[in-house]
């Protein structure tokens, strides 16, 4: 059986005295679309930032591609960061550069590819997310959905084996959101890329998720793990049931 690409063991996140979550433990298998879900303020994005090395865990460990990013320094840390891609909630595209130039930034910084090659790779990545004809446009000239797709193209610039997506569907209309979901599933299938997706959009979770964990603000940790469809239909946990059925908790 293939080694998990992400292994989280007893992870605790805290800011000063305030614990966001603790005892979070799960694995992400290669090639799957893994969803971190939960209500607002439960720590989904905080967990993602622990996985990509932006926040230090208060306790526990998070291994990505077999390495503890928090224990790595210098070149070793850079080498691991080159093997992960991140799409930010807002896209986080560089405003003064066109979409093609945005995708070329990691290629320029981390490879010795000549300009012709970088331009072609950027064109291929933008083509992959359906933005070929917008390559010359600036981030301020495109819609929110296009910015998210461009963010995915940039995250994929170095062909990382794992992509982390923070709220890819947030703020998008249902059609654009469904298009983005289809793109994630297609990329996971065609390129074998592993996706770790933070979202609270129910339809997206059910459309893309192979497996998921659910975080809860009250429980300060994980309250469910498994196939999202199975959790929706068979979970005993009232919070999980309320989440999937969009019910108001008593």
């Amino acid at each position: 059986m293939a080694e998990p690409v992400v292994q989280v063991r007893g992870l605790k996140a805290a800011f000063g005295d305030r614990t966001v979550f603790e005892n979070v433990t799960f694995d992400v298998k290669p090639g799957e679309v893994f969803v971190i879900l939960g209500g607002s303020g439960c720590g989904k994005s905080t967990l993602l930032k622990h996985l990509i090395g932006l926040y230090e865990p208060a306790a526990g460990q998070a291994l990505v591609l077999g390495q503890d990013i928090h224990a790595l320094q210098g070149d070793a840390r850079q080498a691991l960061l080159r093997r992960i891609g991140v799409m930010w909630q807002s896209g986080a595209l560089f405003g003064s550069q066109s979409l093609a130039e945005n995708v070329m930034v990691p290629l320029e910084q981390h490879t010795d590819l000549p300009f012709e090659a970088r331009a072609l790779v950027a064109r291929a990545k933008l083509g992959l997310v359906g933005l070929s004809d917008a390559a010359a446009r600036l981030p301020a000239e495109i819609s929110g959905g296009m910015a998210k797709r461009a963010g995915i193209a940039r995250a994929m610039a170095l062909d990382p084996p794992i992509l982390f997506l923070d709220e890819p569907s947030a703020g998008l209309d249902p059609i654009t959101s469904a298009g983005l979901d289809a793109l994630i599933v297609q990329l996971a299938r065609d390129l074998g890329t592993t996706f770790v997706v933070v979202t609270h959009e129910l339809q997206s979770i059910l459309a893309i998720g192979d497996r998921c964990i659910m975080l809860d603000k009250e429980a300060k940790g994980m309250i469910a793990e498994g196939d999202p469809r199975a959790l929706r239909d068979h979970s005993d946990n009232p919070t999980v049931r309320a989440f999937f059925r969009r019910e108001v908790m008593a």
């Binding site: 090659a117 291929a124 990545k125 083509g127 301020a140």
Partner: protein, 364 residues
């Protein structure tokens, strides 16, 4: 990765082995594309490849494209799917071509047209500000006094230490620099006259205005620019609130009120700095004060403070206008702040030139 290039009639055989990823593609890109451009038929043999990523696939498809056509040998597995996916991604529609460059005459015409439009915009802004100020006179309760006080604090009180420091240094530098040539003519005792008149009439207001433009004008532009980018200014308009009265007038009033104080502070600090240098040259404070009393008249101070007030008005208006005119995107706020500082300093120098001519003609 290893790339072996061999002759295989009727053309070349390029056999790839190992990993074909970004690093391998970068290493072999120049040689492989050079051979592909030779016009010979290509046989791309991937049977020895263990791993292929999208960057590698881009290289292979580029080779095929350069050669016109290629014979492929692809091992069974996911590589063919990746090549097909990459081919499809590369065949998407190209970005539309931009407009053709303008002939030079049309380019100059457009430049003049844009400059004229910008000048009209500035005039319209001044008109709007004047109308809002007049409306405020009729309804003084509409003035956001708390906001005026906040800006008085930020533009004024917080700038005091900087003004004192720069004023002291300016006075000392002027005194030191003038002492050398004046000593040659035995006119060292006239240094207070020179420095006093320079500071009160020119340098005090000018340096205080540079501080206001750099600290406050840019802050006005950045704050209002951020509000413009975040559509807060549109929200004000839709709520029926005049952005001029809400955002611009409190800031302009604060800048107007604070500038004479800053200029006065700069004058005083400069005179003290000059006094320190005169002390080091052997002139006691009493003789320096007496020289200043003989040399300076009230109109020197009043003229300087009047100029400072006008500079404050100009810098406040220019900063706020730059913020309201901010475009979209993350660069807009930076551009607005730059425009406020540059515009403020240019306006200050122009106004100073006008005042110099005016005071000369009026014999002041």
């Amino acid at each position: 990765m290893t790339l072996a290039i061999t002759t295989e009639p009727p053309g070349l055989r390029l056999a790839f082995t190992g990993r074909l990823d970004a690093a391998a593609a970068a290493a072999d890109w120049a040689e492989a594309t050079r051979r592909a451009r030779s016009g010979q038929a290509l046989h791309l043999d991937l049977t020895g490849l263990e791993t292929l990523d999208m960057t590698g696939a881009v290289l292979l498809l580029r080779l095929e494209n350069l050669a016109g056509r290629a014979q492929w040998t692809v091992p069974p597995g996911p590589m063919q799917a990746l090549l097909d996916r990459t081919r499809q991604a590369l065949s998407g529609p190209r970005p539309p071509a931009g407009p053709p460059p303008l002939p030079w005459l049309a380019w100059f015409g457009q430049l003049a047209w844009n400059a004229g439009g910008a000048a009209l915009d500035r005039l319209a802004f001044l008109g709007e500000a004047a109308v809002s100020a007049l409306a405020l006179l009729r309804h003084p309760r509409r003035l956001r006094l708390a906001e005026v006080l906040r800006h008085l604090d930020e533009a004024g009180l917080r700038a005091f230490p900087l003004c004192v420091l720069l004023g002291l240094l300016l006075g000392m530098i002027l005194a030191f620099q003038s002492s050398v040539p004046m000593r040659r003519f035995g006119a060292e005792s006239f240094i207070p006259n020179l420095v006093g008149i320079s500071l009160l009439r020119e340098l005090g207001p000018l340096m205080a205005a540079v501080i206001l433009a750099g600290r406050t004008g840019s802050a006005f532009a950045a704050e209002i620019g951020t509000m413009t980018v975040n559509e807060e200014v549109d929200a004000l308009r839709v709520m029926g609130i005049d952005p001029m009265a809400w955002l611009v007038l409190p800031r302009v009033l604060a800048a107007l009120a604070v500038m004479p104080v800053l200029a006065l502070l700069m004058d005083l600090a400069g005179l003290i700095g000059m006094g320190v240098v005169m002390g080091s040259l052997g002139y006691p404070p009493a003789s320096v004060i007496a020289a200043l009393e003989r040399a300076l008249v009230a109109k020197d101070l009043i003229g300087g403070l009047f100029k400072a007030t006008v500079f404050g008005l100009a810098i406040g208006l220019i900063g706020c206008r730059a913020g309201l005119a901010a475009g979209r995107g993350p660069r807009a706020v930076g551009d607005a702040a730059t425009s406020a500082v540059v515009g403020g300093i240019v306006a200050m120098v122009l106004l100073d030139g006008i005042f110099a001519t005016l005071f000369y003609r009026l014999g002041l």
